[in-house]
Each structure stands twice: as structure tokens, then as C-alpha cells.
């Protein structure tokens, strides 16, 4: 059973790293402004973008099969459900 391994070049990895640093600067700058309740949302959106980059490139998810992606999706849904459904209680108490 010969499996194909995708090798990600140093260049790509470095570019992603730079993008991550830029995004870090963006979060820091953005959260300095008073955006009210949106601050948390913006910070989380940027964090999710960063996480997506790490998962896709550093963790090779971009080159994985559909199975692993589907399973990751299931795990993320589980987290969203756990947090989201708790708010049926917290929001309406």
C-alpha cells in the first residue's frame, strides 16, 4: 500500500507564518478601537482565520482526504453545539 505524501515547501510555510504575524498585528490593532460588542466578534473572526491557516497548511489538512475533513467538521460542530445549546439556559434565565 503505497501512499502519496505531499511535501509542503519551506517557502509556503514561511508565507503562511508571515500571514499569521500580520493577522496577529491586525487583532491587536483592531481591539484597541472601541467597537463595542463587535470587538469580541472581530477578535474571534481573526482568530478563526488564523486557526484555519494553521490547520490547512501547517497541519496539512489542505492535502488530506475528505474523511479527515469531515471528521474535523464533526468535532467542530460538537463544540459549537455544546456552547450554543448551553446558551438556551444562559440567555433566557
Amino acid at each position: 500500500m503505497r501512499e502519496q505524501h505531499h511535501i509542503i515547501s519551506y517557502r509556503t510555510l514561511t508565507l503562511v507564518w508571515i500571514a499569521l504575524l500580520v493577522l496577529t498585528v491586525v487583532t491587536v490593532l483592531v481591539t484597541r478601537f472601541d467597537l463595542g460588542g463587535y470587538r469580541v466578534l472581530v477578535a474571534l473572526a481573526v482568530a478563526s482565520l488564523k486557526a484555519g491557516l494553521v490547520i490547512a497548511v501547517f497541519m496539512h489538512m489542505k492535502h488530506e482526504g475528505r474523511l479527515l475533513r469531515a471528521l474535523l467538521f464533526v468535532a467542530l460542530v460538537a463544540i459549537a453545539v455544546n456552547i450554543g445549546f448551553t446558551f438556551f439556559d444562559v440567555l433566557y434565565r
Partner: protein
């Protein structure tokens, strides 16, 4: 060589004497899934017997009002330990560890699980966790008295040894996670040639669904327990209203794990029944796809209903409504299974041997348990019977009448294959009859008591509950008598009973195609699967 021929080859002891090594180290350091399975079987069944004795003691205390044999504090400790032992040491690791390990790799045509050493580590972690729990009973402030749920604020304040017990459960959770990821990987990667997803036996399907629950739910328990330890040792105050925390959040986190956990307990049991019922009805299973699918559906739906344990906790009314509604959804896939089993029986040529008797009683007892669960799932009726013996009766119907009886069915069905010897049929049937009778006298009475308002977790009660409590306690003795007879007959038979070889039940799943007992890597030659798990003609079984 077709399967029937392979199964008839005398195996000369199979995996029992293949290593050349003797003694206990050939077992406790073995990475053979069958040996690990038996290690698990003996450990969890040992804990089951311990838990059963504790349960009997609790029943003796409740035989009459007032103090009977123990004081209130002892009673609190005993029901806590009974719960912790039965749930964390028997029923959660039970099926996956023992029969999952013994049978699943063979059922999919694999030589072992994906990570055999990790598998051994799972068992070790289980034993270490169990030892920690046992140590916790005799050290510090004595056995925990919180109930198995470790609810704050009591658990963060009681002087008993909660911290250590909680740590033991944490370690066992780790073991459960490792088993789960091992099984998911195994079932994805190691299916034999021809073993498509639609040919995977239903027991393995149920283990697959269970493994996902273990992976996705157990970490939440782990973090919850860590937080309880932090409350006690550091005073973080995350659940302490005095410091801005919210004790109800503990209940959320706890049940986000512990409700899915009941499906860790019951799903493999349903898988056992799905494998036994068709074999003893001489019919292919009815609705194979729906049963397989419903296992996944139960796992998924079971993960979004945790709030139904908290209707009276002070949670918001909206949440009560939502969780109550969602709870009814779980009934659908469960009912799909029950209807499919019954349809399998229809016009089958049923042979009422011991595994089948246990399996059939599972269907009845699980249905009673499941239906009483709907009474608890509906918020209005739940508030009436909350924290009464109705709840105790309900979950014993599901957990003991369901998972427990399925465990006994599995013992009678599969263990002879691994020992090459079998129990005597007649005592097995008598034992089953005693247990079934005693069980219903015990737990149905509890449900009636609960309806009348007898609260759970109290060692004393009003005199008007006395007659029914006496009945329930007598039921527990009948149940215990049956249990003792079953254990003696089963294990005496496995070591000294009549020879058992080949495929006497006539199962079409792969474990019946290997020699008895199975050799060390299960198959004499790589299996190629050409038929479904319940296709008897395809398997060449007359």
C-alpha cells in the same frame, strides 16, 4: 478454503497457548486484543460483582424504615460508591473493553486493533484509575458521599475524599478516550477485503458509534473533573456563587458528558442484541441499514439532550422546553431498533437458548426503561417524579435490564467461542428466569414507590412506603440468587464444561468462521469477505 472448513480445524488452544510465555506477564503485558479483552472482562465483571454486593446492602438498609444495618453517612457513601463502581468501572468500559476487544477485530477481519500497545495502555489506565478510586475509599476523609454525579457545591465542600476519587475517574476517562480513538481508527482502516460498510456487523457498527461518543464527550468530563479538583484544592471559585461562579454550569458540563455517556453504556448492548436476535431466529436481520444508521443517530441526538437532567436545577424555562423537546427525538432511533428486532423475530424459527433469552428480555426491559424515560423527559411529569425512586427504577431498567442483560447475553453467546468449552444450558435458563423475575420485582416496585413520592438517596422513609420496599428488597435477593447461579454455571462451564467448537449457533459473522479458540492473529489466512453479516446461505451455513 471456505469458512466452514476453517472453523472446524482443531486449534489446539488457539491464542491461549501461542506465546510460549507463561504466567501473568504473558497476560498483563500482552498486546493481543483477545487477551486484553479477557483482562477487561474479568476486571469489569469483578467490579460489577462488587457493585452488586453494595447494591444488595443498600436494599437491605431500605428493607424497613429507620436504621436497619447502617447509618446515614455510611448509606451516602455506599450509594456513591455503588454508582461510581457500576458506572465508571463496569458499564462504561465494559462492552468496549471486553467484548469490543474480543470480538470486533475478528468481526471486521483484522488481525488486531490499529494500535495494540495503546490498547494495552487503555487497560492499564483503567486499572490504575480503579486502584486510585479504591484507595480514595480508605484514605483522606473517607469514601465520597456526593453521589456519582459529584455535584457542586457539595462536592467542593464535603470533607470526604472527593478529590482523589475524581482523579481516579479522570484517569479512567483517559482510558476510555484511547479505546475510542483506537476503535474508530481500526474500523476505518483495518476492515478486510470485501468488508464494505454495508457488511460490517451491527455489533461493530454500534461500537463505532460508541467510540465517537467516547472521543467527543469524555474530554468534557475530564475538564469538569479537573475544575472540581481545582475548586477543592485551589479555591478557584468557578462554580461558587460567592465568588461569582455558577453551580448550574457544573451541571451543564457534567451532563454534556454524562448524558452521551449513557449511550456509551447502551449502544454496544443494542449491538449485541442486533447480532444475537437474527442468529437465534434463523433469519437475516430486518432493517440492517436502519439499525446501523440509528446507532449513529442515537449517538448524535444523545449529545444534544443533556439538559433534561436539569429540569429542576433552576435552568431557564426556555432551556427546559428545548431540551424536553429534543429528548423525545432520541426515542425515534431507539424505537427503530426495537421495531426492527421484533420484525426480525416475526416468522423466524426461534430457538430459546440462554443468549436468546437474555436478548429477548433485553428488548422488553429496555422498552420499559425507555418508555419510563419519556415520562422523565417530559418536563411536566419529570418535576413530579424528579429525584424519586422512579428515576432509580428507570435507569436500572435501561442500564441493568438493558446493558447488564445484554452483557450476560454476550457472555453466553461469545465466551464459549474463546474458551472452547461451554456452560450447561439448563442451569443457565434457570438463572435467567430467576434474574428476570427478581429484576422486575425489584425495579418495577421502585418505579411505583417513586410515583408515590419516595425520594432517592435517603436512607430512611415514611412508614407508608414500608411494604413495597420490603417487596423490592426480596426481589433483589431473587435477582442475586439468579446472578450467583449464572456466574457459577458460566465460569464452571468455560473451564470444565462440554466441548464447544466450530459454529454451533450458526452465526454468519466472521468470528464464527475462525478456529475455536481463535489463533493468535485470528485468521489462518487473510479473509476475503463475500457476503453480508446475516447472509447465512452466503456463509455456507445450512
Amino acid at each position: 478454503m471456505n469458512q466452514v472448513e476453517q472453523a472446524d480445524i482443531p486449534a489446539a488452544g488457539g491464542f491461549w497457548n501461542d506465546t510460549g510465555k507463561r504466567g501473568i506477564t504473558a497476560w498483563i503485558f500482552s498486546t493481543d486484543h483477545k487477551r486484553i479483552g479477557l483482562l477487561y472482562l474479568y476486571s469489569v465483571f469483578g467490579f460489577f460483582l462488587v457493585g452488586a454486593v453494595l447494591g444488595l446492602l443498600l436494599r437491605i438498609e431500605l428493607m424497613a424504615p429507620g436504621r436497619t444495618i447502617m447509618n446515614a453517612q455510611t448509606y451516602n457513601a455506599l450509594f456513591t460508591v455503588h454508582g461510581v463502581v457500576m458506572i465508571f468501572l463496569f458499564i462504561i468500559p465494559g462492552f468496549q473493553g471486553s467484548f469490543g476487544n474480543l470480538v470486533m477485530p475478528i468481526q471486521i477481519g483484522a488481525r488486531d486493533v490499529s494500535f495494540p500497545r495503546l490498547n494495552l495502555l487503555s487497560w492499564w489506565l483503567f486499572i490504575i484509575g480503579a486502584v486510585i478510586i479504591v484507595v480514595a475509599l480508605f484514605t483522606g476523609g473517607g469514601p465520597p458521599d456526593t453521589g456519582w454525579t459529584f455535584y457542586v457545591p457539595f462536592s467542593s465542600r464535603t470533607g470526604t475524599n472527593v478529590s482523589l476519587a475524581v482523579f481516579g475517574v479522570f484517569v479512567i476517562g483517559f482510558s476510555s478516550i484511547l479505546t475510542g480513538l483506537n476503535f474508530v481508527t481500526t474500523i476505518h482502516r483495518l476492515r478486510a477485503e470485501g468488508m464494505s460498510w454495508s457488511r460490517v456487523p451491527l455489533f461493530t457498527w454500534s461500537l463505532y458509534a460508541t467510540a465517537w461518543v467516547q472521543i467527543l464527550a469524555t474530554p468534557i468530563l475530564a475538564i469538569t473533573l479537573v475544575l472540581v479538583m481545582a475548586e477543592r484544592l485551589l479555591g478557584t471559585g468557578l462554580f461558587d456563587p460567592g465568588q461569582g461562579g455558577d453551580p448550574i454550569m457544573y451541571q451543564h458540563l457534567f451532563w454534556i458528558y454524562s448524558h452521551p455517556a449513557v449511550y456509551i453504556m447502551i449502544l454496544p448492548a443494542m449491538g449485541v442484541i442486533s447480532d444475537i436476535v437474527p442468529v437465534f431466529s434463523r433469519k437475516p436481520i430486518f432493517g440492517y441499514k436502519m439499525i446501523a444508521f440509528s446507532s449513529l443517530a442515537i449517538a448524535a441526538a444523545g449529545s444534544i439532550v443533556w439538559g433534561h437532567h436539569m429540569f429542576t436545577s433552576g435552568m431557564s424555562d426556555t432551556a427546559v422546553l428545548v431540551f424536553s423537546f429534543l429528548t423525545f427525538i432520541v426515542a425515534i432511533p431507539s424505537a427503530i431498533k426495537v421495531f426492527n428486532w421484533v420484525s426480525t423475530l416475526y416468522k423466524g424459527s426461534i430457538s430459546l437458548e440462554a443468549p436468546m433469552l437474555f436478548a429477548l428480555s433485553f428488548i422488553l426491559l429496555f422498552s420499559i426503561g425507555g418508555l419510563s424515560g419519556l415520562i422523565l423527559g417530559a418536563a411536566a411529569t419529570d418535576i413530579h417524579v424528579h429525584d424519586t425512586h422512579f428515576v432509580v427504577g428507570h435507569f436500572h431498567y435501561v442500564m441493568f435490564g438493558g446493558a447488564g442483560f445484554a452483557f450476560f447475553a454476550a457472555m453466553h453467546y461469545w465466551l464459549p467461542k474463546f474458551y472452547g468449552r461451554r456452560y450447561a444450558e439448563k442451569p443457565a435458563v434457570i438463572a435467567w428466569a430467576l434474574m428476570f423475575t427478581g429484576f422486575n420485582i425489584l425495579y418495577f416496585t421502585m418505579q411505583v414507590l417513586g410515583m408515590r413520592g419516595m425520594p432517592r438517596r435517603y436512607y430512611d422513609y415514611l412508614p407508608e412506603f414500608a411494604p413495597l420496599n420490603l417487596v423490592a428488597t426480596i426481589g433483589s435477593w431473587i435477582l442475586a440468587a439468579g446472578l450467583v447461579l449464572m456466574v457459577i454455571n458460566l465460569f464452571r462451564g468455560l473451564f470444565k464444561g462440554a466441548e464447544f467448537s466450530g459454529n454451533p449457533w450458526g452465526g454468519a459473522t466472521l468470528e464464527w468462521s475462525v478456529p475455536t479458540p481463535p489463533p493468535s492473529e485470528n485468521f489462518l489466512q487473510e479473509p476475503v469477505v463475500t457476503h453480508g453479516p446475516y447472509d447465512y446461505r452466503g456463509a455456507g451455513i445450512p
